[in-house]
Structures are given as structure tokens and as C-alpha cells.
């Protein structure tokens, strides 16, 4: 298979000529590949998805339990939760595949009770990519294009965009998992959507493929598309998403800016005294200042706001303790995720904090 070019999104009209010849079609690195420092989701475009009390029960068990979602337009929203949390069930309800037991919802301004009114503007890849196994990737896309009354010429363009240009004629069952995933993404892009719903889009992709998907999603969002990505890969979500929804056991645990969630996690001030003999005295200083700490690997770890670090430095100097190093360890999305999905002893955040902790 040829090395895929960057997954630029073809809009309604096909791109002319050889895609490889276009410099601007190369993958673009995603800005801020570490902790994102971008602002919260811009609310200017309104909301792409809203739900009120959305519930799905199977018998007595509530798989999705009264979820109130608010997904802003034009941003990439991450949808995370443990296995069985209700992510896919929620997505299925938004796509009209299953009927809610209770609650209401709107997608692109239309009620989810009338999916025909909005699904022409929605692209979706739900769970594993499913196609007719004995038919080619191209024929599978053509069937979907004809069924959805989309431009069939987009099939060729999209196959090239996802790196399947020279394998489109092969039968689907001969594809690797990564190739199936690429075909699924191409199918989701068929309608030139306003809202793209992707369930585990990087599943089965190699690192290069993951980077391409990341670049693609960023580019889509930059073009004003709203993207909802469900994933177990928290690092991936942290890298590509602006907005986050966390559900667990069918209940909403958090929705809001990713930065807000991470900032809400207590940072840790880490101090290493010049002399190891000062460790206990340094720990005592932290405790007396109201920040109980632990000593680990020759350092004092004190859960405290980042702005307390200079104060610790001053207190240590007064006690004639010289610090060899002083740093602030910030929480990661993973820390935050486990904090809010662990119901045993952690506070559950239902919404983004009103104020963010200064960096």
C-alpha cells in the first residue's frame, strides 16, 4: 500500500489532479501535542448536540441514565468513559439507531425523534467498521453514496484521502483492521458532514495512521466541522480534543473544556532539598503550611496549587534549607478521568469548574 498522504477532507467537489503533488495536502502536525492550553470550546457557533434527560433502559438496567449533553459546534469533543459506560448507546440514540427510553435531544437543531431531518448532514463511524465482506471497499462506499444520495465521485476522492486509493478494488474482508478503519472514516465523510461522529476511530491504526487521523480531525474542526470522538485513548483525546464529555455507568460525570478538567485536579509541588537530611524538615514545613505531603524518591510531594511553590521556596529558605529543585507537577487527563470515574472516595464533577486555576 502506498504511503497515505495527509487526510485532507474533500469538500463537496472533488480535488483535482494528483493529491501527492500538492504540498498543502501533507499531514500537518497538531499544535500543542502535550497538555492543551487552548481555551474552552468556543460557544459562538451554538450547540451541535443537546440532550435533556436522555435515558436508555434495557429492562430495569439504565445503560444511559438521564444524560444532559451540550456539545458546542465547530470543535472536537471527546467522549470518554470506561467499557460499558454507555458511550456507544448514547451515540446510537443520537443517530436514530435506537430509541431513547426517556428524555429528549437535538442534533443540528432537529429532534432526535426525526433522524431523517439531520442525518444527511451527519457522518458516522459506530463501533467497528462494518461493510459487506465480499464486496470491495469502493463498492461498499458506492452503495452508501447511492443510498444517501451523495455524489458518487466523492468515493474515489475519499478513498485516496484515507490512503486506500490503490486498494479500493480489494474485497473488504481482505483489509487489515487499520484499512477497515480508514474505509469507515471515508464512509463517514461521504455526506460532506457538518457533524462527524467517530467511535474509536484510531482503533487498529499504526502510529502513522493515528497521527493522520489526528491531523484530519484538527483540520475538520478548523474548517468549522463539529467532531464527536469516542475513544479509550485518553492521551489521544487530550491531544486532539477541545471539549470533553465523560460518562461512567450511564451517568454524566463531566462536560466542558479539557483544560478546565485538568486544571481542577490538584497540582503537586515537588521539592528536592540539596541535602537529603533536610527531607523531613521540608516535609514538616509543608504540613505546617496546610499541605500534607509525602516523601518519595528523595523529594517532597505536596498536593497544592502551583502558586504555592514560591511560598514553599521562601519558607524553606527561612529554615536555611536550600532547594536543589522545585517544580510543579500538573495532573493529566488520565488522572482527572480516574478521579471522576472512581466513585469510591473522589468527588464527582458534573460540569466544568466556573473558574480555572491559573497556570
Amino acid at each position: 500500500m502506498a504511503t497515505p498522504v495527509g487526510w485532507r477532507v474533500p469538500r463537496a467537489e472533488p480535488l483535482p489532479g494528483d493529491l501527492l503533488a500538492h504540498d498543502d495536502l501533507r499531514p500537518t502536525p497538531v499544535a500543542g501535542s502535550q497538555t492543551m492550553t487552548t481555551a474552552a470550546a468556543p460557544p459562538s457557533g451554538g450547540l451541535a448536540v443537546t440532550t435533556t434527560g436522555l435515558t436508555k433502559r434495557y429492562g430495569a438496567r439504565a445503560v444511559v441514565d438521564a444524560i444532559d449533553l451540550e456539545l458546542p459546534r465547530g470543535v472536537i469533543s471527546g467522549f470518554v468513559g470506561p467499557n460499558g459506560a454507555g458511550k456507544t448507546t448514547t451515540l446510537r440514540m443520537l443517530l436514530g439507531l435506537i430509541r431513547p427510553s426517556a428524555g429528549t435531544g437535538e442534533v443540528l437543531g432537529h429532534s432526535i425523534t426525526d433522524p431523517a431531518s439531520y442525518l444527511a448532514r451527519v457522518g458516522a463511524l459506530i463501533e467497528s467498521p462494518a461493510f459487506y465482506p465480499t464486496m470491495s471497499g469502493r463498492r461498499n462506499l458506492e452503495i452508501l453514496a447511492v443510498l444517501g444520495r451523495h455524489d458518487r465521485r466523492r468515493v474515489t476522492t475519499l478513498l485516496a484521502q484515507v490512503g486506500l486509493g490503490d486498494r479500493g478494488g480489494d474485497v473488504f474482508k481482505s483489509y487489515s483492521l487499520g484499512m477497515k478503519q480508514r474505509l469507515g472514516i471515508a464512509a463517514a465523510l461521504l455526506p460532506d458532514p457538518e457533524l462527524l461522529v467517530l467511535d474509536e476511530p484510531t482503533n487498529g491504526l499504526d502510529p502513522a495512521g493515528i497521527r493522520e487521523v489526528r491531523a484530519l480531525l484538527r483540520e475538520l474542526a478548523d474548517d468549522g466541522l463539529t467532531v464527536l470522538v469516542s475513544s479509550h485513548l485518553l492521551g489521544e483525546i487530550q491531544t486532539i480534543c477541545d471539549h470533553l464529555v465523560v460518562i461512567d455507568a450511564g451517568q454524566l460525570r463531566y462536560q466542558g473544556a479539557i483544560d478546565g478538567l485538568i486544571s481542577a485536579q490538584t497540582a503537586e509541588v515537588v521539592a528536592i532539598p540539596e541535602h537529603a537530611t533536610d527531607l523531613k524538615r521540608l516535609a514538616a514545613i509543608c504540613t505546617e503550611a496546610g499541605h500534607p505531603c509525602r516523601i518519595e524518591d528523595g523529594a517532597v510531594h505536596a498536593p497544592a496549587p502551583p502558586e504555592w511553590a514560591p511560598e514553599l521556596n521562601r519558607l524553606a529558605m527561612r529554615q536555611e534549607i536550600t532547594l536543589a529543585a522545585l517544580s510543579v507537577s500538573r495532573g493529566t487527563l488520565e488522572d482527572a478521568f480516574f478521579a471522576i470515574t472512581d466513585t469510591e472516595g473522589h468527588q464527582i464533577l458534573a460540569h466544568a469548574p466556573e473558574t480555572e486555576v491559573a497556570a
Binding site: 463501533e127 459487506y132 458506492e142
Partner: protein, 257 residues
């Protein structure tokens, strides 16, 4: 349209279509080759040359193949509807066409077109074979090409076509109910062949109501005990019940696979 794209698969054309052609060709050849000058020798494919020389002799072969043709059609429809569930493709399709009754109707109509084409092709093959083989067995074919013979042939083809579509409809309904082509085919065949045979032996009025019996009766142009009109009317009522029931089920049921 999208369903017709799918139905253009070589595997389906060679598999389903080939099986149908094979059965009709086989029954036609056996019917003519086993034709005897005198009285028939018990059960099986045996008919007399005199019977085959009648105006309706041309279509004896395809009439005898009607049940097997129906089973093949049941399998084709069951596969077309059930595969969407087992592959998970249904969720892709319904995201692109969320109006489920429209989706179902379009798919059904596409399969009807496909079925009509392959049944007609099978009939043509059977007729050509019969015309080619008959002279060698001393069968007089002049009655076949008479106006009565042509009318009988058209009528027989029409009955066979309706019966085949009926079997297909049963296959489609079972696939939607059980969400599996294998289950639909197994249950359909088990019902139409052994179950109905046992039921009709135990229940004297079974020929009036059992769907397999009715379809078989319609394919053979009716019988002295159950008229073609009554058979057709009962089948139309069944078809309407199936259409409404499966449409309601398909449009209301969650697609969770």
C-alpha cells in the same frame, strides 16, 4: 438503487441464479428424458409422451421445480435481508437512509426485480431446453406453440413467478424477525418442507391455510380442492399481514448490532 448495486455481485448471480437455473434445467431434462410412451411408472419425474405433447407440456419441468425454486428464492431474500444484521452493515445503511419503511420497501422492490429477472431467465432456459430435447423423445411440440399452448405457458410462468416471490417474501420476513440469514433459511426450510408436510397430514384443512401449501398450489395453477382464486386471495392477505408486521417491527426495533 443501492440494493441493485449490491445484487450485481458475481457470487450472488452465480450462486443463487445458478442454483435456480440448475434446478429448472435439471427438472426439465429429467421430465423429458424419463417420458414414457405408455402409462407412468409410479411417482417421480415420470410423465407420458402424450401428456407432454399437450399445450401445457412445455412448462411441466419448471412447474415441478417450483418448490425447490421457491426454497432458493427464500434463501436469496433471507441472505439479502439477514446479512445486513450479521455484518453490522445495517447501522451504516440506516444512518444514510433513516426512513426505515422507505429503506425496507426499496430493498424489497430491488429484490423483487432481481427475482423476476432470474425466474424469467430460468423459465426461458427451461423452455429452450424442452424445445430442444422434445423431438428426440418423440414428443409432438406443435401444441406448445399453438395459441392455447402459448397462453398456458404464460400462465404457468406467471404462477411460478408469483409463487417464487411469495417464498422470497417469507425469507425476507424471517430474516427481519430473526436478524440472521442462517436462522431464517433454516426455519423457513424446516417449516415449508417437513413441518408443513406433517401438519397437512394431521390437519385436513391445512391446504387452505398453510403458506407453503398455498404457494405450491399457486405455482401449479391451483387444484381441484383449492381453487387458484382462493389460494391467491389467501396469499394476498398473508402478504399484507407480513408487510405491515415486518414494517412495524423493522421501524420500531433498535439496531443494536
Amino acid at each position: 438503487m443501492s440494493e441493485l448495486l449490491k445484487l450485481r455481485r458475481r457470487g450472488l448471480l452465480l450462486g443463487g441464479g445458478g442454483l435456480l437455473l440448475g434446478f429448472t434445467a435439471l427438472f426439465t431434462i429429467l421430465g423429458i428424458e424419463n417420458a414414457t410412451k405408455g402409462a407412468t411408472r409410479g411417482r417421480g419425474f415420470h410423465v407420458t409422451v402424450a401428456e407432454l405433447s399437450k399445450p401445457d407440456g412445455l412448462v411441466r419441468g419448471i412447474e415441478r421445480a417450483s418448490t425447490l425454486m421457491g426454497i432458493v428464492m427464500l434463501g436469496i431474500f433471507a441472505a439479502a435481508f439477514g446479512t445486513e444484521y450479521t455484518t453490522g452493515m445495517l447501522r451504516n445503511l440506516l444512518v444514510r437512509e433513516p426512513r426505515r419503511v422507505k429503506f425496507l420497501t426499496g430493498k424489497y422492490l430491488a429484490l423483487l426485480v432481481f427475482a423476476v429477472v432470474i425466474v424469467l431467465v430460468a423459465c426461458i432456459v427451461s423452455i429452450v431446453l424442452a424445445l430442444a430435447l422434445a423431438p428426440g423423445k418423440g414428443i409432438d411440440t406443435s401444441a406448445w406453440t399453438s395459441s392455447t399452448g402459448i397462453a398456458d405457458t404464460w400462465r404457468a410462468v406467471w404462477h411460478l413467478l408469483v409463487a417464487a416471490l411469495g417464498y422470497g417474501t417469507v425469507g425476507a420476513a424471517l430474516a427481519i424477525i430473526f436478524r440472521s440469514p442462517v436462522a431464517a433459511l433454516a426455519i423457513g426450510v424446516a417449516w415449508i418442507l417437513p413441518a408443513e408436510a406433517i401438519l397437512s397430514a394431521l390437519w385436513s384443512n391445512g391446504q387452505y391455510w398453510l403458506p407453503g401449501q398455498l404457494l405450491s398450489n399457486f405455482a401449479s395453477g391451483g387444484s381441484s380442492s383449492v381453487s387458484l382464486a382462493r389460494t391467491g386471495l389467501t396469499l394476498v392477505v398473508y402478504w399484507a399481514i407480513i408487510a405491515v408486521g415486518t414494517s412495524m417491527l423493522f421501524s420500531r426495533r433498535d439496531v443494536a448490532t
